[in-house]
């Protein structure tokens, strides 16, 4: 396990992956529930140092696609490979490489914020645990709340805690579902800059977002999810978000 501490606020725990190697490869993937597709057929590849944003209107199937990519939902059809292997979140390799943050508001009621993060560090064999946790708490503005229990935090603070949990551990792929939700403007900017820096130094990022500014800062490419899928540049995707129309000028 490698760990490089960046004292500018970002502990860059992402694993160095040889350039141009596919971290994620989705082939003719159809996501849905109980065998019924909710959006069009998706094919994409994501390398290290790349960030793919999934955009589209509410209910288009973005989160369903992401959950299918990381194996939380069964695909209606098609395949997904992560680091060359079929997706199976029961394997050690998968759990070692892939960090996922969905909107799960589930916490141990008796544990503090820093104890939740300590569990993640322990499972991933992070050394200098106190320093790592302290740096992430500082980055996410939670230092003063380190000894608070999650249910005493606001929903935005709990969201920050979930994001911090993804950053205290090593990862070669980070999957975020609308990370900007419930964050204040300053934190959004800070997070976007941090993600961009991590992508530039090798992280593969798959992100669902509705925020054009966040998208432009973070993404290197984008997919508009609807009944049919449109690949586009981040700039074009930001325009499409504004009008929720892939054909928008």
């Amino acid at each position: 396990m490698s760990k490089a501490t960046n004292h500018s606020g970002a502990n860059q725990h992402h694993r160095p992956i040889p350039a141009r190697k596919d971290v994620v490869r989705a082939e003719k993937l159809q996501a849905g529930y109980a065998g019924k597709a909710v959006c069009g057929v998706v094919s994409f590849s994501l390398h290290s140092s790349q960030s793919l944003a999934l955009v589209g209107p509410n209910g288009a199937g973005k989160s369903t696609v992401v959950k299918t990519v990381v194996g939380q939902l069964e695909a209606v059809s098609g395949t997904t490979l992560i680091n060359g292997n079929e997706v199976d979140d029961r394997t050690l390799d998968f759990r070692r490489e892939v960090a996922v943050v969905f909107d799960d508001d589930a916490f141990f009621p008796a544990l503090t914020v820093e104890e939740h993060l300590a569990i993640v560090c322990a499972g991933h064999g992070v050394d200098e645990v106190e320093d790592v946790i302290s740096a992430e708490l500082e980055f996410f503005g939670l230092s003063a709340l380190a000894k608070s229990r999650p249910y005493n935090l606001s929903s935005g603070q709990r969201r920050r805690m979930l994001l911090a949990a993804a950053f205290v551990r090593p990862r070669s792929l980070l999957v975020l579902d609308e990370p900007e939700q419930r964050l204040d403007t300053s934190m959004r900017h800070k997070l976007a800059a941090r993600l961009r820096a991590e992508v530039d130094s090798g992280l593969a990022l798959l992100v669902v977002t509705h925020d054009p500014e966040f998208l432009i800062t973070v993404a290197t490419k984008a997919l508009f999810i609807a009944d049919t899928i449109h690949a586009m540049t981040p700039g074009r995707a930001a325009e499409a978000i504004a009008s929720e129309n892939p054909h928008a000028d």
Partner: protein
């Protein structure tokens, strides 16, 4: 929790850290411990008392002990009952199917929602996280097996020696573990959807076979189904504990089968997917919150199908063009409520089955006594009434829904009454009609029940719109610790009205006659129930008035 090397902690160490860190922050100490011990002992004594009462009732029914007037049969002389063997075999089959459905819904290998969220993503061997849930979840079917098998064996065995009883319980445990193993294997392999559906159907339909048999026997004459013809039911695997209680030993084979299956599941525990564990954790959380909300229907739903999902083809007319604005709004609202009810066919089926339960009891040899039937009628009526209260509960939780139509609040509440009022009237006709067909009661009692039905619909509304418990009221000492009196009061709202409305019918059933005065009394009670059920409570702040509880007038002075 610092390790200087980058060595990963094991699942066991992470589990222990989570519990130790949590435990260090819980309050109480010795007094908490004493309270827990007290709760366990009292809980155990309650179960033993309940089991004892059941055994005494069964042995009374079998003619052992004094014949009491209260235990006199309510069924007509010459009535062909279902044998006790058929009844107990059916009950065991139903309970086993119910247990399997429940286990398949709750996992059966269970973890809590935070555990699935924070532990399962860690790159350590998952066995250390899953195994405790596998072992702990086995406790529930084991307890259920003892509770069911012990009294039934004691009540039905010809020679209930301690050895035979112990082996019968062991066989019951084997059966429970086999069911647990089947459910766990389905969870491991991600299969068994059809099995869950089949078990759900058995749970609903098996009790009805008792009524059907009794009805058939009473019209079939010489071709009636005899005890010899139903003797094979004793050989259903679910009845094997009763065979052991009677001295047979070969059914203990169940134990070996169960242990073999459990070993297979144990070896494959890590194959359970994260998604399956998350699903069972969510089902467990839903059941726990239903239990806390003290809502029988939500609880039964959480134990069976979970929250309703999917699309329905039921489409009733919702837009009306004729009549005044008031009439049109009322029609739309009533049609909406009917649509919601019809889109839950499982609930309606459950209500129908509940209507047949008292008749099932009456159809069993020796169990057709009036008191037992009256208790069954009350419980079934109450559970049916609450089952029909989904719309009311939804509106109580989302008051804005009831303000969508330009109607006074009182009228909206009265519209809420239409569906449960009609449904419970139909329920009363079916329930007492079946009882009459079996020779219990009389046509006059059926008419009295028909008059009580609309009152039960009002009980639906009273339970559905019950106010939230007032957690500020003083607490009472309960077996599970302090219980706010507000919570007890909230729990009793609904069951109270069901009992009041049914009192004349139940008294007439037990006494064996229907005096003419019963009809006006029943009508009055039903009318009062309607007024009570459709009454809209004023919010507390409106009663108190002013800030800090100071009456408005006084404050103005």
């Amino acid at each position: 929790m610092t390790k200087e090397t980058n060595e990963r902690f094991s699942a066991k160490e992470i589990r222990q850290y989570t519990f130790r860190a949590g435990l260090s922050r819980t309050q109480g100490g010795l007094m908490e411990l004493i309270s827990e011990v007290y709760t366990s002992i009292l809980g155990g004594l309650t179960l033993v008392t309940m089991a004892g009462a059941l055994i005494v009732a069964l042995r009374h029914s079998l003619g052992v002990g004094d014949e009491s007037a209260l235990l006199a049969s309510a069924v007509a002389p010459g009535f062909h009952s279902v044998t006790l063997l058929q009844a107990s075999a059916t009950v065991l089959l139903t309970l086993a199917a119910g247990l399997l459905t429940l286990e398949m819904t709750m996992g059966p290998v269970a973890m809590s929602v935070p555990q699935t969220a924070w532990w399962l993503g860690l790159p350590v061997r998952r066995r250390g996280f899953i195994q405790p849930g596998f072992l702990k979840s086995m406790a529930w079917p084991s307890i259920a097996a003892v509770i069911v098998v012990l009294p039934l064996s004691l009540g039905m065995a010809a020679d209930p020696t301690p050895g035979n009883l112990a082996l019968a319980v062991l066989c019951g445990l084997g059966l429970a573990w086999l069911l647990y193993g089947i459910a766990a294997w389905c969870q491991v392999t991600g299969s068994g959807a059809w099995l869950k559906k089949a078990m759900g159907a058995i749970t609903l339909l098996a009790p009805l076979t008792l009524v059907a048999t009794a009805l058939y026997n009473n019209v079939a004459g010489t071709s009636a189904i005899t005890g010899r013809q139903t003797a094979w039911l004793e050989y259903l695997p679910t009845s094997w504990p009763l065979l052991v209680a009677d001295g047979a030993r070969w059914p203990l084979l169940l134990l070996a089968l169960a242990l073999g299956l459990l070993a297979l599941v144990y070896l494959n525990l890590e194959r359970i997917t994260t998604a399956a564990l998350k699903k069972s954790a969510a089902a467990g959380a839903y059941a726990a919150s239903s239990l806390l909300s003290m809502d029988a229907t939500e609880l039964s739903r959480s134990f069976s199908t979970g929250p309703a999902t999917g699309n329905s083809r039921v489409r009733l007319k919702l837009i009306f063009t004729k009549g005044t604005a008031n009439t049109r709004s009322i029609k739309t609202l009533a049609s909406t409520h009917a649509t919601m009810a019809l889109r839950s066919p499982a609930t309606l089926l459950r209500v129908l089955v509940l209507a047949a339960i008292p008749a099932s009891l009456a159809s069993v040899e020796f169990l057709g006594n009036a008191i037992l039937i009256a208790v069954a009628i009350y419980l079934c009526a109450h559970f049916s009434a609450t089952a029909l209260g989904a719309t009311a509960r939804f509106s109580a939780g989302n008051p804005a829904v009831d303000t969508l139509m330009p109607l006074p609040a009182k009228t909206v509440r009265q519209v809420h009454y239409i569906v449960p009022g009609a449904a419970m009237t139909l329920w009363a006709i079916i329930c007492f009609g079946l009882l009459l067909a079996l020779g219990v009661g009389s046509p006059a009692l059926l008419i009295l029940a028909l008059l009580a039905g609309p009152g039960l619909g009002a009980a639906t509304l009273r339970a559905g719109f019950r106010p939230a418990p007032d957690w500020n009221m003083p607490a009472l000492a309960g077996p599970a610790g302090p219980v706010p009196t507000g919570a007890i009061r909230a729990f009793l709202i609904g069951p109270d009205l069901s009992l009041i409305v049914l009192l004349p019918v139940l008294i007439c059933l037990i006494s064996g006659g229907v005096p003419s005065i019963a009809f006006p009394i029943q009508l009055t009670l039903t009318f009062l129930a309607f007024q009570w059920g459709t009454h809209i409570r004023k919010p507390k702040s409106a009663k108190d008035g002013g800030l800090f509880g100071v009456p408005q007038t006084a404050a103005n002075k």
